[in-house]
Symmetry: C4
Subunit: 498 residues, 4 copies
Amino acid sequence: MHAKLTGQDVAKHNNKDSCWVIVHGKAYDVTEFLPEHPGGSKIILKYAGKDATEEFDPIHPPDTLDKYLDKSKHLGPVDMSTVEAEVKAEDPEEAARQERIANMPILEQCYNLLDFEAVAKHVMKRTAWAYYSSGADDEITMRENHSAFHKIWFRPRILIDVEHVDTSTTMLGDKCSIPFYVTATALGKLGNPEGEVVLTRAAHKHDVIQMIPTLASCSFDEIVDAKKGDQIQWLQLYVNKNRDVTRRIVEHAEKRGCKGLFITVDAPQLGRREKDMRSKFEDVGTSVQKVENDNVDRSQGAARAISSFIDPSLSWKDIAYFQSITKMPIVLKGVQRVEDVILAVEHGCAGVVLSNHGGRQLDTAPSGIEVLAEVMPELRKRGMENKIEIYIDGGIRRATDIIKALCLGAKGVGIGRPFLYAMSAYGEAGVNRAMQLLKDEFVMNMRLIGANKVEDLNPSMVDTRGLFTHTVSTASDTLSSSAYDVLCAPSFKEKAKL
Amino acid sequence: MHAKLTGQDVAKHNNKDSCWVIVHGKAYDVTEFLPEHPGGSKIILKYAGKDATEEFDPIHPPDTLDKYLDKSKHLGPVDMSTVEAEVKAEDPEEAARQERIANMPILEQCYNLLDFEAVAKHVMKRTAWAYYSSGADDEITMRENHSAFHKIWFRPRILIDVEHVDTSTTMLGDKCSIPFYVTATALGKLGNPEGEVVLTRAAHKHDVIQMIPTLASCSFDEIVDAKKGDQIQWLQLYVNKNRDVTRRIVEHAEKRGCKGLFITVDAPQLGRREKDMRSKFEDVGTSVQKVENDNVDRSQGAARAISSFIDPSLSWKDIAYFQSITKMPIVLKGVQRVEDVILAVEHGCAGVVLSNHGGRQLDTAPSGIEVLAEVMPELRKRGMENKIEIYIDGGIRRATDIIKALCLGAKGVGIGRPFLYAMSAYGEAGVNRAMQLLKDEFVMNMRLIGANKVEDLNPSMVDTRGLFTHTVSTASDTLSSSAYDVLCAPSFKEKAKL
Amino acid sequence: MHAKLTGQDVAKHNNKDSCWVIVHGKAYDVTEFLPEHPGGSKIILKYAGKDATEEFDPIHPPDTLDKYLDKSKHLGPVDMSTVEAEVKAEDPEEAARQERIANMPILEQCYNLLDFEAVAKHVMKRTAWAYYSSGADDEITMRENHSAFHKIWFRPRILIDVEHVDTSTTMLGDKCSIPFYVTATALGKLGNPEGEVVLTRAAHKHDVIQMIPTLASCSFDEIVDAKKGDQIQWLQLYVNKNRDVTRRIVEHAEKRGCKGLFITVDAPQLGRREKDMRSKFEDVGTSVQKVENDNVDRSQGAARAISSFIDPSLSWKDIAYFQSITKMPIVLKGVQRVEDVILAVEHGCAGVVLSNHGGRQLDTAPSGIEVLAEVMPELRKRGMENKIEIYIDGGIRRATDIIKALCLGAKGVGIGRPFLYAMSAYGEAGVNRAMQLLKDEFVMNMRLIGANKVEDLNPSMVDTRGLFTHTVSTASDTLSSSAYDVLCAPSFKEKAKL
Amino acid sequence: MHAKLTGQDVAKHNNKDSCWVIVHGKAYDVTEFLPEHPGGSKIILKYAGKDATEEFDPIHPPDTLDKYLDKSKHLGPVDMSTVEAEVKAEDPEEAARQERIANMPILEQCYNLLDFEAVAKHVMKRTAWAYYSSGADDEITMRENHSAFHKIWFRPRILIDVEHVDTSTTMLGDKCSIPFYVTATALGKLGNPEGEVVLTRAAHKHDVIQMIPTLASCSFDEIVDAKKGDQIQWLQLYVNKNRDVTRRIVEHAEKRGCKGLFITVDAPQLGRREKDMRSKFEDVGTSVQKVENDNVDRSQGAARAISSFIDPSLSWKDIAYFQSITKMPIVLKGVQRVEDVILAVEHGCAGVVLSNHGGRQLDTAPSGIEVLAEVMPELRKRGMENKIEIYIDGGIRRATDIIKALCLGAKGVGIGRPFLYAMSAYGEAGVNRAMQLLKDEFVMNMRLIGANKVEDLNPSMVDTRGLFTHTVSTASDTLSSSAYDVLCAPSFKEKAKL
């Protein structure tokens, strides 16, 4: 056993011709890997010759270097006492964030899922917030996902005995306490140092299903290891161009007990999210010089950094392949029109998730709830309504949203960002409270709509007449509206401040 | 007769193991009652060993302790001179409120019902305001209740002789001066120390009917005692799980002369109102420590404090029971869809109130006026339009709103919050002016629509084409709208301040 | 001839038991008239014993006292040198207004009708502005009047030879240069000391027709005297309960050459306009004490002050009477639904004005342009489209608005407030520029729509599909919209101020 | 050769009776030309006796004086050293602009076309910005052009192999890399001193077609000279009343290789653009005195300055003439209704551009995309869909906008202002980045909608149900909305600044 490397040894390799970095106390030679790095070489070079652990951690599972970097490039442990401590410049923005954290509302002050988002917005790091909260282009679809629910109104029944409300249901044959599941979202450590296992523990506590993301910050096995008892987990899959890689992932997941395979089909290419790109730019861009004309999009935020492993040629004919390598029920995640639901039935899929990827892919794609309202009548017309389970995700913030989806025929709904926000602001306690609030709302609103079990919900309980209208009001006549003298309430005497 | 208790005697019992409180100069042992208190034990413990009168009064009728606390727990009078006066901390918010009260607009400056709300918002205590003004979830239904009227437009007739306008009508067979009634609202003393009897006196003056709330701050008998002459009152009823309790209430009301029994059917569980919860939290939360994970909703505002006495198992089969115990006409309050109006007819109800409980129960439940526009054509189709009286409440602020409801077939409308706001800001004079303003508006608008009695109003006088549209505009393209350079009016030279 | 009265003589009669006032150098005893004053006694008593000329002038034609006050109450001339000059308190609001006037934009900076409104808003006296600009209740109809035009979109024709555009047309058989007329509006001297004759002169210059208001500040004869050559004028009529008074007015108008009689039918009672009432209140209310409970609406603004002379019993059967006393064509002003247009045809009326009185009467009454779009197809179906001339008024601000009305079948449109605003801000020059701007817009837009004369305009040139939709967007989900992190444009470095 | 003129020689001719000006070092006698100047004599007189080059340049091609001013008025070169340098007053607005330019975002911070607009707004001269950014009347159509795209939603297909996306297409038979072209816009030098040739170079680099504007700042030949290789250019034509002038232009363009003739048909008269007029007014108006009544619109901005050369009598019968003088395919630019597309087919046109001239002509004219959605079904019904190529322009800012147009049947789309803004803010590099961003978006969104070549796009991929709705929400009830107490997120402790 030879002596540990010193900080000075590593520091010499600080450029693209020879680039070493330290991660978790070990040095790696990434010179040859630079051009292949999905997130671009620039971000690595920022840490050339230095300790990159802090930047590395949230966006790579711990087994990344073992899996993707040849052993010959593993240079061994570094004597960290010899590594020059990075003197961080005073960052007034970070100082302000720390002050906000010190003054943040206590958990009990959060009364609904949106409250977590409002808190997270102010206590998360800006780049992390930007990654979680951003959507495609003008973020119209992202916002539509939630507001679409406000186009659906209830037709509640009264004088139904609702003393006992049973919220349990099944998904892909497995029982769960309430018809929502934790959907897959990437890079959990951006919000919490423990990452996705926090969600696993909360999911167990509340008996809800968790879908494990391909792009988790924790490794797949860490997340599976965190489950307890007969807790149900599913696997979300981005299909790699190298089908062997994909096969190993699927087979491993099945062996580890995953109960469903959710293949993402709405992301042949990961979307551009400008809020994310802009936040990243400003993070690395402080000393950036004027650039030449053609260099488009070199710094593209976290979303683009993780997009290389997805096969854009994935098509319907690949479904049979997946059916050949696994017994897990196969669900297509990201279906966006009724024709493709029919195809999914015909290809023997167990389910579909009507989803636009949280509004992060194609802007002005319709919301899952709107597609659902078109899908179910067509399935019923064809007698297919029991041949497939329909899920939706996107924009769900209230139990009323879940109930509307169930009235329209969904088997369950996926919830993503709200739990990330709860976790980012308050950790596991936050996620627990978020789930409990949803459950409390759910029981109450079942009573108020006049239903005491999930099966009671049906289309006659909702009015969807406004759902399909995508209007934009005619532009306001600003001369007229600014000339208009707005009506005022009675005025208090001058001194009183309102 | 033994000596009075002293403040010191009581002060020793200041914890959950032995909890005494003073109310109106008498001590009570509420130790055993703590876990049963509908508002939670926390709020009582805040006053353990102390005088709780000020907190107790607005949310409990004076006969509460006699009715609900066993006599053995009544410890007798306290020598109040020995009770240590609570030294109230300087409260800058309360000081600011008192200054606003000193500067508030005079009553004559209120020209419509909304003006009272604008004033009340600034002069009421925050917790009281929050209780009155809050609604369910995102308060979408609460606001829809009013804005739905703006989707209905008039088709006025001209050249009708409208010199003499008669605004009188009947409700459940009793005459009244104008087709609105004071609907039941809880906790009147939050707004005015006298509570609901203020409304009773104003109702008498204007010859309008009052519905007495189950959850009044005054006792039922106080409210009935306040009526004069042949003034008409109805009883609003929350049905208790213990039917004997309910029976006693109903029989007593009938004996005291109530002319209608309005059974609330939209509240098997009282709604969550977050504005109310939040205001309450901040009131008791100043010294609150970080709480453990699971403690959901321990401080839940006034609304939750009063919700335990409602039977969630109430159902259609109970209607016959009520018909068996009273001769009062039975009206279902809180019907929300046409199918249930038909059921009400079939069950022999005298009327229904199409209502969503002021938007305080199920969010995105439809407004009463919208349901009305669906109900009446269906009743007419079935020849049932004269078999039942249809009322609506929610969102009525203008006489035009009342006229629209009557055009569509309502027999009358209930008005709640506006009178509470008028009472809270200006007392009885405020309620009187509010009613008079409505009457003046009503006469004028009857003239302007070309009707001189209530019976003249009919569906041809309104255009409801926009009523059923529940749209949400597509999310704005903020990059584009912020880049847009808004047109401006001609500019004044610099010095002039506009 | 006896000696003139002195200021001291008059000053003694300064109360309701003996109330003298000076108007234009003459004293009047108005003690007995106090209770009959349409504007209430309060406003007169403010000037009891004093010179009331300045307040009197804008809201009374000069012949008012001669016409309505018995000669015995005319006390004769006052030696004005003995009248104590009113020492006006420094009024900071008036000083600010004068400064704005000193800095106001020059006339050339007004490029459209709305610009005059924006200027007038800042340079008019607040009470005058409030009287002109106010509408009924929530002013929803007032604003709808203009915005309804934005629901109509053009379907322009191209490649039409539009070198020569002829904008002339006829109304009630008389030629005019362009299809708009100056409609009747009350109290012109509130905006300009000369009053309505300013409009008369501008109308002559531009060869447009003027409708003379019953409630003008100038006397009827002053306005007729101001016309030149064969200038066309019409009479707008509020029908007095005393038909002899009305008959004298009509016969006199016909004798003086009026070419049309426009009977107002949308105002059996003058509307409540709260902005007007509130401004008036604040004007007289500075020393007002808290008032007793019942005194509703004692100070009600200019609108209510002039409302007593209107007969609310006017009805269809009165039309024949008017036909018997005049040969002028009779036009009903204020028709609001298609059924009543049919009745007007059947009663032999020459025309109707589809109008809601500028949104000043019944709130949520439909706009004239919307009613027009319903009326014309029905008239055509019945073969009545040539039996009556259809006019509209309300909300017209652009030549495109006029063109839309003409495409839909209107013979012409009335314009009121915009000319008042132009007159109030810039006098006659302002009205001239306003008319010229409209003409320039009209010629240009005729070219752009592909029409070179008024007759070319037809319904195929407009798309009215959105016109009949009266929507109110579902209330915004404020928690969600405030949590949303709005997309931003690229940021400038810190120092740059945008 | 005689001696050069001196500054003093020229300076004597400084009034309307004798008016000389210097342009690019040469003197011209423009006395007789003053009344004919399309931009009015006022702006020339401002420079009488002086050097006008700086004002002249951006709004006149360099060959203007040679072409339009008789040689006898060309006075020859001036010794510029004798011309008194104009002492420019300190202009705080210009100084602020220069500071903004110094601090402007670097090009890499622009992530989409709207970002360029946001930057250009702050770094362009106000008058130039006003000319580019202004629209007709209330700019409703201008804004509708973009927002109309937000009424169209996608129906994306999934599981299509989209590894290889081919974005190329043809227009009028010529190949290009992507289905957009640079449409004609006037006065390029207002944004960049080099003018339109900047666009020519960028168009070449990206293999997109450029349409050359009649009203370019560069001369036609300069723009053609700037093209490289087989780069495609088209000619946009305003038809002059003198057909010989027009003929010379057309023949010359054909000879120089233009591949399409786009005749503007939506501008028989150039529109009024008040933002432009207002900015111009304020530029020349600093010393303006109060003007007389009638002088309407003497200073009317850049738009009016260039409008005299357009023949308003152009009509359908002129099409044959153009077909007789050129072999270039003829396309009508500015068609606005389906009937006129049919006529275009019948007249043998090769194409039409559905356009409202960027919202600069007739306000409330429909957007091109809306007209397209009406046109294509009608063409298909008549079997004409292959007889003509349909283009649209107006409001395109995202690749999704282009894809929507192509789904609905457009052959391509024109983009104007965005490239002007990119050029004005960042020069050629800006235009290049703008085009590259569009291309990147295009490829990605083709993948996300499930198409790998332009031909795959079809109407089933879009939902246009909301497109034809032109609504204006009912005016808000301001009393109610201001009384409403908005829901708030949990509050941070006081010190924290959010």
